[in-house]
């Protein structure tokens, strides 16, 4: 039953899911690094991105690159607004206040989408060239799978370069290290946080498109689990480490897919439970994750 092609197939599926988790984890970990905020609203941006693409590409019939760009734009603008309206006032206060506010913002966005788009799920058909079936050595996949993995890796490389090489990226790392020290050396912390939100949210919106294209269906509540699992990925990879978040995303995607693929059929419905059992195990046994530095958990 577990032939080579079956295993390869599962690995590929895990890789695709993992790259989406990694993209989400990337955006979340940057915000977390600076504000110590688990941004629950991150998941809502996935939904927003998917619905923006759906509306512009499938309903208005704009060309694919434009629809994708619009999705990015909506994600980025939403991210900027959330930071400005929701979080800026609460910075420096108790961490839990930010957490509760992000929960409120998530519920707000989810239900705005529900109100605008009605609660029913929609069939999500990506452009034909992405839907083509490919077959390499018995492993079947669609072009969209390759698209997701390639684009994710490109985004991650671009982000790594941004953080390592550009002035703003260095300022971002410095702020994550210590907000106080960053202020002292003249870094505009508000600007850095805004950039972190905009970039992370735009990437989340693109992930929303990928999610819809991969699973063929979008609904108003699709983003929540994805967002929470992205946080699990951050913990697995190691809090505070950007490469760790990406590795954690891939590990989580692979574990989730392989657990469903290789455990007896009855266990498929426990996939969410498996993810959170993994989270609790990591927090207990190795709270610093794969690449994280020491931090009081």
């Amino acid at each position: 039953m577990f032939t080579g092609t079956y295993i390869a197939q599962q690995l590929l599926n895990g890789l695709v899911l993992g790259s989406m988790y990694a993209l989400l984890a990337l955006g979340m970990t940057v915000v977390y690094g600076i504000l110590r905020l688990i941004n629950f609203a991150h998941g809502a941006l996935v939904t927003a991105g998917a619905f923006t693409f759906f509306g512009i590409y499938m309903l208005l019939g704009w060309p694919f690159p434009l629809a994708l760009a619009a999705s990015l734009l909506v994600g980025g603008v939403l991210g900027y607004l959330l930071d400005l309206v929701g979080y800026r006032k609460l910075r420096g206060g108790p961490e839990v206040a930010l957490l509760i506010t992000s929960l409120g913002i998530y519920i707000l966005l989810e239900n705005l989408i529900k109100l605008l788009a009605t609660p029913q799920p929609y069939a999500f058909r990506p452009p034909a060239f992405l839907g083509q079936l490919q077959n390499v050595g018995g492993v079947a996949f669609r072009t969209v799978d390759v698209f997701i993995v390639v684009v994710s890796v490109l985004i991650m490389i671009a982000f790594a370069l941004f953080v390592k090489r550009t002035k703003l990226g260095i300022a971002m790392r410095a702020t994550a290290e210590s907000v106080e020290a960053a202020k002292l050396v003249g870094i505009n912390v508000n600007q850095v946080v805004a950039v972190a939100f905009v970039l992370g949210s735009a990437v989340a919106a693109i992930t929303g498109f990928m999610w819809g294209a991969k699973y063929g269906q979008i609904s108003y509540d699709m983003g929540f689990m994805a967002g929470v699992k992205a946080f699990v990925a951050i913990v697995i990879g190691g809090i505070g480490s950007i490469p760790g978040a990406m590795i954690g995303g891939f590990v989580l995607g692979l574990v989730e897919t392989l657990a469903v693929g290789f455990l007896p059929p009855g266990f498929a419905e426990y996939r969410d439970a498996i993810v959170f059992v993994l989270l609790i195990l990591v927090l207990l046994l190795k709270p610093t994750g794969i690449m994280g530095r020491k931090e009081a958990v």
Partner: protein
């Protein structure tokens, strides 16, 4: 007023309870069934919110897993009180025979308490690892616990009938059951807060390190508050199941957990009556806005209003509606009864 303030706390509590039940009696006789339905729902959610307040408000552990404990309580109570004639039709082979065999079922009260106890045991098992975590780690881990519980409820089809849920649960819950339990919940938490245990919990909330330096063992008190909170969450779940008459796993999921958190934050976490006030506002608002939502076909309106209220409270009044200026402060002074007057928080010692 002067005389009322000088009465001992217990007497004031008893008088308040008397007034409450008199009001409920009048309401029960005069109001129509729809309004009574809302009043009962407020009572059930108040139990859940008040118990969540113990962990989230007083001990400073921001748990998001409360719906999970409610699910445990709801399922255990339901399985115990399940009517004999339905047991064969529902065919639940995993249900242990001694917990209500094919020929008998438990009465409501012991079943409810059993539900609360199982939820408390679950809290003990989950709390031991999860409560070691701080802040948001705890929030996500407890949310994860809730997901694990709902997935189990979906998966263990031979015990819970899976996603189909359990229907035709006898309707034992009424206004007296609910408000009697609410009074018990508030009483227990009130007395707890005025004991050395409660002082230790408050100290942990303010600063865990400072509490430790005073000889308080944080894990012990965190676990205690988590377990007591879970017990009453289980009771609320059991009452809910026997009120709604049907339970499905997804009911005890994110929306329920968030609803309870919203009620608590709006009312005022860390105040005795805040949770009840918040619950009353949120539930009443739902029944006011639901017709608007359905009439206009704008589904999601109620949740949007909740979310805006939550964000508004966090931005402009983080202590909640009741926090700060407590209109009912003369009833239940924050510092506890006269007995404890003058003992500053910081000097609380563990027993």
């Amino acid at each position: 007023m002067q005389r009322w303030a000088s009465l001992p706390g217990d007497v004031k509590f008893l008088i308040s309870v008397g007034v409450l039940f008199l009001a409920l009696f009048v309401a029960n006789c005069t109001l129509n069934r729809y309004v009574l339905h809302v009043i009962i729902l407020i009572g059930i959610y108040s139990i859940a919110t008040t118990s969540l307040n113990l962990t989230n408000g007083y001990t400073g552990l921001f748990s998001l897993g409360h719906a999970g404990f409610m699910a445990v309580g709801a399922y255990v109570t339901t399985l115990l009180t399940f009517p004999v004639r339905l047991r064969i039709a529902y065919n639940l082979p995993l249900l242990p025979p001694f917990l209500g065999g094919p020929n008998y079922h438990w009465p409501f009260l012991p079943a409810l308490i059993a539900g609360g106890l199982v939820a408390a045991v679950a809290a003990l098992l989950v709390g031991a690892p999860v409560l070691r975590l701080r802040g948001h780690y705890l929030s996500v881990a407890s949310l994860g616990f809730m997901v694990i519980i709902t997935t189990l409820a979906k998966g263990l089809k031979d015990l819970t009938r899976g996603a189909a849920g359990i229907q035709a649960i006898p309707r034992y819950t009424n206004i007296w059951w609910v408000y009697a339990w609410l009074v018990v919940t508030i009483y227990v938490i009130w007395r707890l807060l005025n004991s050395s245990y409660g002082r230790a919990m408050l100290a942990i909330r303010e600063s865990e390190i400072a509490a430790q330096s005073q000889g308080i063992h944080p894990m012990r008190y965190k676990l205690l508050s988590f377990v007591i909170g879970a017990f009453f969450a289980g009771i609320a779940g059991g009452l809910y199941a026997h009120f709604a008459r049907s339970i499905r796993p997804y009911e005890f999921s994110f929306s329920m957990t968030f609803l309870i958190v919203i009620m608590l934050i709006i009312g005022g976490a860390g105040t005795l009556l805040g949770p009840v006030v918040g619950t009353a506002i949120v539930v009443a608002l739902k029944y006011v806005l639901k017709p608007v939502e359905e009439g206009l076909g704008v589904y999601g309106l109620v949740e949007i209003v909740y979310a805006l209220m939550l964000i508004g409270v966090m931005l402009w009044r983080p202590e909640g509606i009741v926090g700060g200026v407590n209109p009912l402060r003369f009833l239940f002074p924050k510092k506890g009864g006269r007995r404890n007057a003058g003992v500053p928080h910081g000097e609380a010692h563990g027993p």
